[in-house]
């Protein structure tokens, strides 16, 4: 069954750009150009996710989101905004946004985040063990092993791997890692994430035949058995 996405965005070019991208990825996309249409569609249709621009005519994005949440809809919402400052972000998440992406953005980033939102909405069992192939992470004893061989991880490497394991087989971008693992919401102006990931990769892959932590050029990373 194809997944359904609602894009509420007043700029026609951006709207088309987002919609086409997701359609190519197999989604069914509905479009709205202002807040009123957006709210009408959002409350009447069954969507898997909503991409909502903050600055839209009719009813601004945050008011629309507030109304949507007040109506009891729990559809995951990603807010798009030109306002990237922390306080603005906090406002967005406070009224019920699930994620916040600052314009301009790369489509791959948007796509990865929407995928992550869907997974997050799926009820996450209180797992004690995360696994991928022969990689095993015990969240209680904080023990990590591959093919039965223990791996020695620093606390932050553990957190990084946990983040990746919870999103296994998904694309994870650098900014998602910065936000999710380091709580750092700014462009660090360096390839610092690459450094951290390559260190983790060294620990995960040295001495094993199969690569497990893949780099997707220009997009991010993917923890998976197949690239």
């Amino acid at each position: 069954m194809s997944r359904k996405l609602l894009v509420v965005e007043d700029d026609a070019d951006t709207r088309t750009y987002i919609a086409r991208g997701f359609e190519e990825a197999g989604w069914t996309v509905e479009r709205a150009g202002d807040g009123r249409d957006g709210l009408y569609l959002a409350t009447s249709g069954q969507f898997d996710a909503i991409i909502l621009d903050r600055n839209i005519p009719g009813m601004d994005g945050l008011s629309m989101l507030k109304a949507l949440r007040a109506a009891g809809a729990e559809t995951p919402v990603l807010i798009l905004s030109a306002m990237g400052q922390v306080d603005e972000r906090v406002k967005g998440l406070r009224v019920g946004g699930d994620d916040y992406l600052v314009k301009p953005f790369a489509f791959s980033e948007l796509h990865a985040r929407i995928d992550a939102l869907l997974k997050r909405k799926a009820p996450e069992a209180a797992e004690a063990v995360l696994e991928l192939g022969d990689l095993r992470m015990d969240l209680i004893s904080r023990h990590v092993s591959r093919a039965g061989r223990p791996l020695d991880l620093l606390p932050r490497e553990f957190k990084l791997l946990e983040y990746l394991l919870r999103r296994k087989n998904q694309v994870v971008t650098r900014t998602m890692l910065l936000e999710g693992v380091w709580d750092y919401r700014f462009d660090p102006h360096t390839n610092i994430i690459d450094t951290h990931v390559s260190r983790l990769r060294k620990t995960l892959e040295t001495g094993f035949d199969r690569p497990i932590l893949h780099t997707l050029r220009g997009i991010g990373y993917k923890l998976a058995l197949e690239p």
Partner: protein, 464 residues
Amino acid sequence: MNAAPPLARRRTGLIAAGAVALVIMLTGAGATALVDSRVEGLLVVETERTLETETGVLLDAHSGDGAQGLEAAVARLIRERRDPHAVYWLKSAAGDRVISSISDPPALVIGSIRSRRFIVWRDGLGRSVRALATPLPSGGLLLVGKDEAARSELHRALLEAFIATLAAVGLTALGLGLTLEKILRRRVDTIAQTANAIIDGDLSQRVPLRGSGDEFDRLASVLNAMLVRISIQIATMRAVTDSLAHDLRLPLTRIRLGLEAALAAPDDGGRTAALERAADQTDDALRTFTTLIDIARADAGVGRDAFGWTESSTIIRDVAELFGPLAEDTGSRLDVEAVEARIWAQGALLRQVLGNLIHNAIKYAGEAGPILLASRITDGELVITVSDRGPGIAPEERERALRPFGRLERDGAIDGSGLGLALASACVRLHGGRLFLGDNEPGLKVYLFLPLSDGLPDQLPGTG
């Protein structure tokens, strides 16, 4: 000094002076009226006592020498006229002879007197006369009295004194009011002159202080502090707008050229590479733009509503963990010495500031030795320092280095927007703190002074 303003503009002072004078005059009039009535009462009592004494003396003469003795005594008194206001009137028992210093009192007044009592009437000249009327045992009537001209004189004297006092008081009040108005005007004029100079575009003007610490000095120092703050903001704005032309137009030009090159390039690896370069340059331009907005917002005090209680050592360790590997990659090391201290802050912004500073240290001085990120508490403030072992910044260049696009000449070869320190400085100001650059001997030591939570008023979370 300015010429005195026209009268219309001085109205406030005049009205104040006039009002004060009027109030004083009314109070004076009331006081005078009160004195007048009290004095009159006393005067009547005094007069009556005198009349009684005098009557007693005359009656003694009467009882000794009979009616004739009394007549002689009264006649002598009238003749001698020692007191010009004294009044005597004596009627014999038979009613046929009258010895008098005045015209006869009205019959209505004296006709009904059966016993000794005081009477008041108006004589032929219109003067009010008060007299003690005594029926004589022989059947006659003696009046010993005083006309009340004395009282009118007293009234007049009081009125004159009152008017004189009133005039003096009124003039004094008016003079005081005008002087006060002049003093106030002079002080206000000083402030107004500064304001006018600023309106004319000279923002370097400050209100002069007299050093007296009075209300005007306090007002002046607050105004001056405000002007300093505005100057900083305007300087930032100016630097930003000046630099926008260069620092944003340049990358945009590069992008444009790159895209043109890509259009012209054959559709193979060359085009892709040119497009990738253009995309990178777009990111650079966007980054600069974002940072400029961040600085402007921090300087304008926007974003305080996202403040919260934050453990500074957690932030310091998080940032160190993020950037540690980068330092190691350049052959350096990032050491951390953090004390626990809660601060009222926007944690995310502080992470960015520290991240920027550490990144700078790694970039400019990473190969020169270890970098130290430390925090300690000094004089009720949290002091975070980022120290490196690199070339440092010469004291005379430090102020410029904190300004947007204030990059040092020698860094031309190193990538960077020239905004990192300016952003750090603006963010620290947003947190009510201050940032300055010091010498690590050798190297650069950046100090961030932040107010500690303990020192903050309780209501702070509600402000902003």
